[in-house]
Symmetry: C2
Subunit: 358 residues, 2 copies
């Protein structure tokens, strides 16, 4: 096996999926998992065992791919663009296609450009400040809804809301406090306008006990989790289903640091800050029973520099393969493009063939 | 053309290569460009016109690829590892293979594991603190050199030094002040031990006028440059040869922000800080003559959020394709996996087929 590689623990994946599927069932929610994290047909299949038929993806290209492989109810959780309208028609011939709307002029242009039928969610900004209409801007929501309802090729699906600012939380309590008012606002929208309410970040879906007013959840990251999610309070290290395996190529005793083959082109440059305010680009899964405090302190294109505790530095030898929790598994998986299971089987990603299956 | 795409200006690439090649000629340096930035056979070919025969790469896999495509003098600018010794032999059958040494035990193990002949540079740490032996640790250098010289399959090539801390500089003056003492130290090593002195970061090679004591340069990024290099003082925006082309999918007048399809899986999450200490993940090439102050302030997996000046916000419309300078072209190119030229031709990267050409 060429190093570095991304090891996939299929049992943990199955367990993470089951927990989230059970949670959806318990709260009578439709489970529409986000496939952007794994981008894999093999992992997609594991969701079918829990009755999942509707899915979420992050680009029209990813929708095209999964619709060609038997998935026929797909939400593209991204504001509908104008450059790919031809793809809308070809996907909609095979699959129920749902996209996000944030601009009435775009809605009309898309309606004029397509001949198949698609659905649109109005995207709601819950204070995250990335995309969507503010939940209380009823004038804009009314205009957008009018544009959708007057478009013969477009059906109104409901409201889609991603509370990405939960990623700044550091406990269940903070996540709940941040999202309680969001769920209340979404409930107001449902009462006023009807439609399905779709909500979906991994932290909220992992820790909330109450989903009143919500019809659908679409978390993605939970399938693998990662070190960032442990810091948010959304999972434990034991739930993380992917680890990077990297060769130690040098040791520097004067600074208790080891160099690994594993860089920005493998991990991505996402980081979390530790309690001392230092950047952590990956967290070492200790070889030692005592646990680890070793972490990747910097990344170049192919170099990773690991700051070690004294004890762990002594335990690591050049030539060792060390196991590292990725900070952000979505980005690491996207870079690695494939997974290696415990039995050594290689599971490819959607993009592994060529860019966007061009 | 599917969006986003990475536009390549071949004239700028040719000009950047010529400038660096002329610089090498002027200072009587061997020009061994780093191919990790472009990872492309087509771009590699442009270097041949300037007499380049020796190249530098960042992994043994990349060496394997280029050695299979006619390049037969390759430095892997990474500490030699033990997991891929079989590849050393297969590459060395086709090509002169040069790797970096930082540990005497590894040198001996590699010597015992290979049957072909390879060369080793001793890697020198010029205070960057990533890899290598400190330039003044003569005891360790002596030990390493003894290990190399007593290995029948390994030749001593010289010293390799990457001053990656020049990336923290913000002017030619700072770069020169930082690297003057490094060149002096390298000169001392050459006098004491002989061999070729290889030096190579893009900032130093772009702005220094004096290369006394150096035999070879191996910059990589200069082939494209990027926004980070403009901030370091190594290039002008006009020299940047790659720009991301991204569709504008939403506008938010209350905050002068536009949303583009172009995220962390396209740009990478590398950033620079602007004068207000805010993170800049991409800098917009203005549509306006007056220049631009618009930049990507945050990235999700596929979303890019652009903070605009008032004037530029007004000039941008939904559906526009905006052109964005990447912060770190090596990482952006690695993610995009291919380039699109002015004539619409697609130039693939080494990794485009499948991971590491598995």
């Amino acid at each position: 096996m060429r190093l570095p590689f991304l090891k996939l623990d299929l049992e943990k994946v199955a367990s993470n999926i089951k927990t989230m599927a059970d949670n959806a069932t318990k709260h009578k929610l439709e489970f529409r998992p986000h496939f952007k994290t794994h981008q894999s047909l093999v992992i997609a299949q594991l969701f079918k065992e829990h009755g999942v038929t509707g899915i979420t993806v992050s680009s029209i290209y990813m929708a095209d791919f999964f619709s060609k492989h038997g998935w026929n109810d797909i939400t593209v959780a991204f504001p509908a663009g104008l450059s790919n309208v031809k793809l809308y028609d070809s996907i909609a011939k095979r699959s129920k296609l749902k996209v996000l709307a944030v601009d009435k002029a775009v809605v009309k242009k898309i309606n004029n450009a397509i001949s198949e039928s698609i659905s649109m969610y109005i995207e709601i900004d819950p204070g995250y400040g990335r995309s969507g209409i503010r939940y209380d801007n009823f004038a804009l929501i009314d205009e957008l809804l009018t544009a959708i309802n007057s478009s013969e090729n477009i059906q109104f699906e409901g409201f889609y809301c991603h509370a990405g600012h939960t990623y700044k939380c550091t406990s269940k309590k903070e996540i709940v406090a941040l999202t309680d008012p969001i769920l209340e606002s979404l409930g107001t929208l449902k009462t006023k306008y009807g439609g399905n309410i779709s909500f979906g970040d991994t932290p909220s879906c992992s820790v909330r006990d109450n989903f009143d007013g919500i019809d659908q959840i679409s978390p993605g990251n939970f399938v693998f989790y990662d070190w960032m999610q442990t810091q948010i309070g959304a999972c434990t290290p034991e739930q993380i289903a992917v680890t990077m395996h990297c060769e130690v190529v040098a040791k520097f005793p004067e600074r208790n640091e080891v160099l690994i083959h594993g860089g920005a082109v493998h991990f991505s440059k996402d980081f979390v800050l530790n309690k001392d305010g230092e950047r952590v680009y990956g967290f070492v899964k200790s070889k030692m029973n005592a646990g680890s405090e070793s972490y990747i302190k910097s990344l170049s294109q192919e170099h990773g520099l690991v700051a070690c505790s004294q004890a762990e530095f002594s335990a690591i030898e050049i030539g060792d393969i060390i196991e590292v929790f990725p900070i952000h598994s979505c980005l690491t998986a996207n870079l690695m493009r494939e997974y290696v299971t415990a039995s050594g089987k290689v599971i490819p990603q959607f993009g592994s063939g060529s860019p966007y299956q061009r």
